[in-house]
Amino acid sequence: MTTTEPLRTVDVPPHVADNPRLGQWISFPDDLSPDAVGVRIGKVELGQGIVTALAQVAADALALPVAQVRMLNAHTGLGPDEGLTAGSLSMVQAGPALRYVGAVVRDLVARVADDHPGASFVDVARTLDPATDLATWEPRTDQPPVRRVVGTDLPRLDLPDKVLGRPRYLADLRPAGLRYGRALRPPSFGATLVDVDAAKVEGLQLVRDGSFVGVVAATEAEADAALVRLREATTWDERDLLPDEHDLTTFLKAGPHDDIPVLDEPDAPAPTHTATYTRPFLAHASIAPSCGLARWSDDGTTVHVWSHSQGIHNLRAAIATSLGLDAAAVTVEHVENAGCYGHNAADDAAFDAVLLARSVPGTAVQVRWSRRDELAWGPLASAMVADLSATLAGGRVTGWRHDVWSQGHSSRPGYGGGTPGLLAGQHRADPDPSPAAGDPPPDRGGGTTRNAVPIYDVGPRSIAGHRLSASPLRTSAMRALGAYLNVFAIECFMDELAEQAGTDPVDFRLAHLADERARAVIERARDGSGWGTPLPDETGRGIGFARYKDRGAWCAVVAEVTVDHEVRVRRLTIAVDVGLAVSPDGVRNQIEGGATQATSWTTRERVRFDRRRVTSDDWETYPILRFSEAPLVDVHVIDRPDQPSLGAGEAAQGPTAAAIANAVHAALGVRVRDLPLTADAVVRAIEQAE
C-alpha cells in the first residue's frame, strides 16, 4: 500500500455539513439496476443540463463509468437540502459536495472490501450503512483522483425522453385516480371576490377560501368547462392599483425606498458626463405554463406535492406555514418542466394543487395554469432605472457614480423572514402577508445592485441602490436579476466615455482594466468578431463585458447589428471563462441560449398593463424572439482546467444587451438608453438627440 493521506485537507463542503447522512446522497431504490449507484442531489434540472454535469462529477468522484450512476429526483424527505437551484451556483455548491461524498464512499468501500471477496464496488457500496455520518468521517484514500468524464461532452441524460416525445414533464404524470384542478385567478390585481352565483355553479366541485376559488373535475375537458362556468358565476370588487406604464421612472423613483448603500468613496471630482438607462418589467415567459400536483393522505393530515419549483425545501416550508401545518406533514418531490429562468409560477401552481386537492383526500389533483395566467400572474422581473455619471480627464475615467432604482428581485417562498410568498395564500380568507420583494444579501450578489460596481479602474466610486418598499406589482428573481440593467448601463456608459475620449471602445476598456481573465475574454471576443473590419451600411458592431456577480464567470460579447426598420441582431461573438468547464458544450449551449434570450429581452420584450391588470398575456401581446430573428452565436470557451467551475447560465445577459445597444450606436450614431430597443425607442432617441 502506498502512503495514505487524509483527504480532509479542506473543510467539509457546506452542503455535506448540512446534509451529513450518507443515505441522503447515495441510495439504491428498488428499481435501480444491480450495477448502478443512485445519487440524489438537491439541485434540479431546469433545462440547463446541471443534472448531467453533476452526474459527470459524481461518476468521477465514485470512480465509476457514468452509465453506472443514476441521478434521482430531488426530494425533501429523502435527499439533501441544497437550497435553491439559482444564481449560477449549482456547480459551485454541489460539485465539491459530490466530490467529497464520492471520496468517502470509495474510502468506506476500500476499507471493507476484503470482507466481500469477489464483490464489485457497487455490491460493497450497497452494504454501507445509510446512517453513516459523512461530516465526521475522516476520508482517506490511496486511490488517485479520477478524471474521466469531467471536462468531456457527455450527452444530456434527460434529452432522449424530451426529444423523442416521451412522458417526462410534470404535466405527464398520471397517478392512479388523477383529477384535474383549475384555480380561477381574480380579474385584476387586488380584486376581492364578492359573490359566486350558486345556481350557475351547480354540480361543480368548488373550492373556495376567501377570494381563492377553484374547481376539481374528473377530466381535463370537464375542468376547463367548469372554469368557464365558474368565471361567469363570480362577481368581484376591483380597484385601480397599478402605476402608469408609460412613466415607470417616476413610479420607481417616487418611493418609499429601502436604500442600499454599496460604496461611497471620498474625493470624487465633479462629473463631466451623465446618462440614464431604463428597462421595463419583463416576464419569465416559460414555454410551458406552470403545473402542480398534490395528493393528501386519506385522513387529510399529510400532503405529497410534485413540483418544478427551484427550491423544494422552501416550498415545503411555505406550504406548511401558510396552512399552519408541521413541516413534517409536507413532502415535496421535484419533477421537471420547461425552463423557468428564475422564480416563475411553479411554486404558486403547486400551492393551488395543494388547496384544491384538500377537497378530495387520497386523490391526486393536477393543476395546470393557463398561458394567460402564466404571463399575467407569475412574478415579474422588475423595471429598473439607473443614473450614471463620471468624470473624464485626460482620456481616463477619474470618478464614477451609479444610482439604481428598482423593485426587489426576490419574493421566493420564505422571503422576508419566512413569508410563504405563494400567490393563492394572498387570496385566502386569512391571507398570508405579502411584503414587497427584497433582494438576495450582498454576499449572494445582491439583486437591485447586482453588478452595479464597475470592474474598471475608475477612481473614487459612489454606488447606491434604492429599492421600492411597497408596490402593487409582484416581482421576483429572473436570470441575472439587477445585473442585466446594471451591466447594460455601465457598458453603454463606458462606450459613451470612450467616444468622448476619442478612443476605440475595446482599447478604452482594456486601458481601465487590470484583471487578466477579464482582459482575456475581451481580447478573444474582439479577435473572434472581426472587430474593426468594414461592415455594410446601417450595420455596426458593439461590445459589452462583465464578470457576473463580481465573482462568477467572465463574459464578453461583440454584437453585429443592422438597423433598418427595426433592430436586427445578426451575430453575437462571445468569449467566456467559467474556470474548469465540466461540460464544454453544455457551457456553450447555456451561453448561446442566455445570449439569444437576452437578445429577445433587449429588442422586443416589455410587460404591458393598464391600471388594473397585465394586458400582455399571450404570445401576440408579449412577443418573444422567433427563429427568423435569432442571431448566429459563436461562443469561445476559455478553458481553465485548474480553476474552480463557475456557472454559465447568467453570464451573458447584461453584456449582450450592452453589446447590442452599442452596435446600434455604431450603426446609427444614436444612443438608445431605454430598453427594449424597438423601432419606436430608436425613433424616440433620434428625436431626443436632435
Binding site: V163, G165, E220, I287, A338, G593, F627
Partner: protein
C-alpha cells in the same frame, strides 16, 4: 358523441364533445403525451401535429375537425424505439435545453423535409417561425434540421 379518425396509422374512435381540443383528446383519451401543452391558443407550436399532412396546432383544432382524418403525432414519426432523423440530429447536436418546444418543432421540421427534402436554411427558418423556443436554442435547431436532410431523405 363518438368521432372516428386515425392516429399514427391506427384507427381510433373517441367518445368526447366534438369541440374538445384535439390536444386534450390525444393526451387524455389516447395517452399520447408527446404533444405538449404550451399555450392552448395556437400561438407557440408546442402541440403541433399533422392533420392529413398539414401541420396544425392540436390545441386549436376541435375534435370534429379530425373526423375521418389522419393524425400523426411526434410518437408516429418513426417506428417505436427509433428516432426520426430530425430527432437524431437534435440529439447529436444537443440542440435542446428544456426540450419542451421540441416535439412540435420535430413534427414541423419532419413535415418540411418530407415535402421538400432539399430545403435550405431559409426554408427551415421560415417553416419553424411558427414555433417558439424560450430557451434560445433556435440556431442549434436549424443546424440540426439541416444536418438531418440526408437522413430524412433516405428514411
Amino acid at each position: 358523441m363518438t368521432t372516428p379518425f386515425t392516429v399514427n396509422g391506427r384507427d381510433v374512435t373517441v367518445d368526447a364533445q366534438p369541440d374538445t381540443p384535439l390536444l386534450t383528446v390525444l393526451r387524455e383519451d389516447l395517452g399520447l403525451l408527446g404533444s405538449r401543452f404550451g399555450c392552448g391558443l395556437g400561438l407557440c407550436g408546442a402541440c403541433f401535429v399533422r392533420l392529413d399532412g398539414h401541420v396544425v396546432p392540436a390545441c386549436d383544432t376541435p375534435l370534429w375537425q379530425a373526423e375521418g382524418k389522419d393524425v400523426v403525432t411526434v410518437e408516429g414519426l418513426s417506428e417505436p424505439g427509433h428516432a426520426h432523423p430530425v430527432q437524431q440530429a437534435i440529439l447529436d447536436r444537443q440542440a435542446a435545453q428544456c426540450g419542451f418546444c421540441i416535439s412540435g418543432i420535430v413534427v414541423n421540421a419532419a413535415t418540411l423535409l418530407d415535402e421538400q427534402p432539399d430545403a435550405d436554411e431559409e426554408d427551415v427558418v421560415a417553416a419553424l417561425d411558427r414555433n417558439l423556443c424560450r430557451c434560445g436554442v433556435q440556431r442549434r435547431i436549424v443546424d440540426a434540421v439541416l444536418a438531418a436532410r440526408s437522413g430524412a431523405a433516405s428514411s
